[in-house]
Subunit: 628 residues, 2 copies
Amino acid sequence: MPGLKRFVLGHAMHNQEVQHQRLSNPIALAVFSSDALSSTAYATGEILLVLAVAGSAVLKLTIPIAMGIALLLVIVVASYRQTIKAYPMGGGSYRVASDNLGTFAGLTAGASLLVDYVLTVAVSVSAGVAAITSAAPALSSWRVPIALGLMGIVAVANLRGVKESGAVFAVPTYGFVVLIVTLVVTGLYRWLTQGAAAIAIPVSESLVATAPLTMFLVMKAFASGCAAMTGVEAIADGVAVFREPTAKNARTTITWMAGILLFLFMGLSVLAIVAGVQPTEETVISQLARVLFGSGVAYWLVTVFTTAILVVAANTAYADFPRLSSFLAADDFLPHQMRDLGHRAVFSNGILLLTAAAAMLIVIFGGQTSRLIPLYALGVFTSFTLSQAGMVIHHMREREPRWKVAAVINGFGACVTGVVLAVVVYSKFADGAWIVVLLIPTIIAYFLWVRRRYDFVREELRLRPEDLTDLNWQSYNRMHNHVIVLVKNIDRRIIRAIQYAKSLRADRMEALYVDIAGDGASMRARWDEADFGVKLTVIESPYREIVRPIVDYVRAVPRPTDDHVVTVIMPEYAPENIADNILHDQTSLFLKTSLFSTPGVIVTDVPYRTSDGADVTKRAAQPSAPAR
Amino acid sequence: MPGLKRFVLGHAMHNQEVQHQRLSNPIALAVFSSDALSSTAYATGEILLVLAVAGSAVLKLTIPIAMGIALLLVIVVASYRQTIKAYPMGGGSYRVASDNLGTFAGLTAGASLLVDYVLTVAVSVSAGVAAITSAAPALSSWRVPIALGLMGIVAVANLRGVKESGAVFAVPTYGFVVLIVTLVVTGLYRWLTQGAAAIAIPVSESLVATAPLTMFLVMKAFASGCAAMTGVEAIADGVAVFREPTAKNARTTITWMAGILLFLFMGLSVLAIVAGVQPTEETVISQLARVLFGSGVAYWLVTVFTTAILVVAANTAYADFPRLSSFLAADDFLPHQMRDLGHRAVFSNGILLLTAAAAMLIVIFGGQTSRLIPLYALGVFTSFTLSQAGMVIHHMREREPRWKVAAVINGFGACVTGVVLAVVVYSKFADGAWIVVLLIPTIIAYFLWVRRRYDFVREELRLRPEDLTDLNWQSYNRMHNHVIVLVKNIDRRIIRAIQYAKSLRADRMEALYVDIAGDGASMRARWDEADFGVKLTVIESPYREIVRPIVDYVRAVPRPTDDHVVTVIMPEYAPENIADNILHDQTSLFLKTSLFSTPGVIVTDVPYRTSDGADVTKRAAQPSAPAR
């Protein structure tokens, strides 16, 4: 098992290695921008899908909607450039909102982002599978297992650590960008030189309108397209991972990302309308690539790289979710396990939690992108708005050089994203956004509960000066110990347990057997025959319960003062390997859990091991050894 | 949590109650026959689906194929009637094949049946969802979550116990039988009085043949239809649950079941052909009910009861899988936990394992019946064949009255089911049966491994006379104890742990701190200041590992003889409730697991509880109490 862990995860990392895990700009662009860039693989298609209910003629509204989203992107990125400058150590929305708007705003941003990161994984992986099933429709019934498999690969890659992720994932990101740029340029060139007919996709019949074109429908199409905006905040969150000068490098990188994203998204949207793409099971990119590149190598490269960048996009969330969880855990809002670096200096628990949550979404929504989209983008716009509003307060407090310009940029960003958030919630509420609207306050309530518990326990455990008074060594023997050895069977385990129990020199000692099958009398006879020199107590349990009678018995042991403790000794068999473990009963585990919270009780496992067996035999062979 | 357990599962059952869990014939028919009867909901449709690739004209072959399956049913049931007589205590294939053909045949039957029970759950629940989506096609994209939800209900019902299952599930079974009999009679009456046109289903276009009609295709259709046969063995397995005279009651019940099954299956198949049912997303029963009953109350009743009996069918496997697992566990072929009756006198672990395995199949195959069918029936025909072959040997050995007739019936059954098994494997191999063909030997290998391990451990732990020689009380102080108190922080937990450690009167004692963040020196200063009277050892861990350095340190403690043990004391905080548990770190759990297998080491948890906190404070208030 340690061997397996090392093979899958690689060697453990020294603290000094950890600090070298900084990323160059091109690698950082690949790691942090794949989410935003890859969303061009589905954003246009989602806009078309919403508009389609109003008929073919309406599809061309995609272009103005895409332009609106592009404008929004420019505003948000300009705003985040201010944030990066002000928070060179990493200005995640959680940190910015907490610092400037107070804890509650910070937790709202935190909860929103956690939800959105889970959706990023589910949506990206589902869209990656859609790229595969567009090329090979026969696989469409295996959507969920394929999605879960792809996600598993990303999870393992991340458990191995971020540097490998950068190297492994740069190729797909740049490959995708080059291919889609080629696709867009080829399409536009052919359209301008040979006319629209040269790139027209053969369509069997035009879509029939089943609903009127309303303002609500346009808002919904816009809200669906806003999925293209998710992930834009990733660079601002991860500034600390850039090389020095971190802020400058991060600002350069976010600008590059925005430029590339704009070109891809607008290019694909315009081309889709010109070529007459209709929303079908086949993705927009696949339809365009078939018409422009044919079905040869180029088409397959597009499929492979689209899938690959979408898998890498899931990776963005795998970088951010565990990091944000660790911030929250460091502030006592999440269990401390989320804060602890694992074997490979990554936040293993955060990675596992993210994987489980995303897998649940993929199973429930059948791995279909368009069914997940209504839940998406809501969290990210909540955090955009809070982060930018927080930056306005920050500028007003800090009054750094040129703070007024920065405050205006951030203020404008906050207003715009706030309005978009309202549009997203309103237009997608009935389609699934309500789930997220309910989930975010639930998560915040959990954060606050965790914090309250940690505060309580810290106060509970705090050492007061008077606690030390009775610890001087003269009084050590004031604690009275009543030892109970549990008996399952008379075998070598019992020998070891009784030897150990006797070595504790307790005040009282007894053995305890629970009779669930009416064999109490025969056990007593065998016990007496073995002559262990320890009294056996037998209790009956007609409900075949083992745990409860033992707990009741132990609770009933007289403890005249709190200085009396009961030590329960559990003879166990220690198997040699992990597969063996489940062969040996779990009752003792339940028992330990129950006794753990019983006042005055201390549990001791005495495992019998093959090597200990050697002890017994050896001692047995030299019974005349003197007592020491 | 105990409150929740009781609410969901009901009160615990006394051993005397357990024996009263016997079933009357009508209840037993509902509990054991629902699997076989409910398969009429999809068996005809699966035959049609296979034949459809050869075009509409070929669909009428469904009738001779169904007749072949009906004949097979008669042969198998006649054979099982002999088994019930010979094994009135429950003649599962595992038992019959083990007794008469040897262990290996028994394990083959056991593995085959376990696999088929899992498929029974997955197929039945998926078919139940198909009944729902036939009535409400809008739900078809929620197939998997609905299927998992239905299965969850069955699992909880079974964790509550079998008697409630009988009462709850009789209504759906009988309701389904009455409704489908009404449907068949109505259809046949209308056909005979008004002609086929009166019941014809309006069809948009006839199916185009995409493949020729081959013998292979007919075999595949037959093999798919054989899904109707699964569950026939359930009564023979469960004879012991019938009332006295058990064998006679079980034989009567299996005959009734076969009669009802024959009528429903043949009736639906004939009607489907006459009415011109084509295999679509809508089930055969739904198509027939729409044309014969309209869309009113009767149609909805059919939908509700079809879903209900299919859910109940999953319940058959929930009765059988845990029972068979418990037989295998009792013979040391599966972990003993599968043998232990839980809180409510049911085999809880078997129920949970079955649920997990079926859930995995539902997720992988998208909750679609026809994708699961190629894996199905293979296991059950393996066990049919082995069971009946075993009976032949049984008759030849026992030579009970009229044994020759019985041997001929069983021998003929074995030959026929053996041939059908070959047909099933051959015709479905490429479609998924290969998975089962690989899985069964794997499971058998696991059975044999488990048995070998139990044999090994039993021999290991067996008490030899010489083991007792050094246990006389004079030598109890020969064990030398070196106590190590682990230190995470200096707080109230440490007080309790040191008090307890001192009470053990060990030969040596020290405290141990692992420095993962460079704070070793400051910890030592605080430790010295607190003046616990115990030496603190600090070890550095630049890889931020806690578990490994501790294990290494403990291993390195000198143990000049095997009589020297190391007791590791872990100060813990015992939270007051379960939700709190995950807030308190899991490192100690990993540590315990690692130390469990370290020779000569014994681990003791010393939990600090709020109530113990009261101890500390109280003692602190009376520091002058005399040492005892």
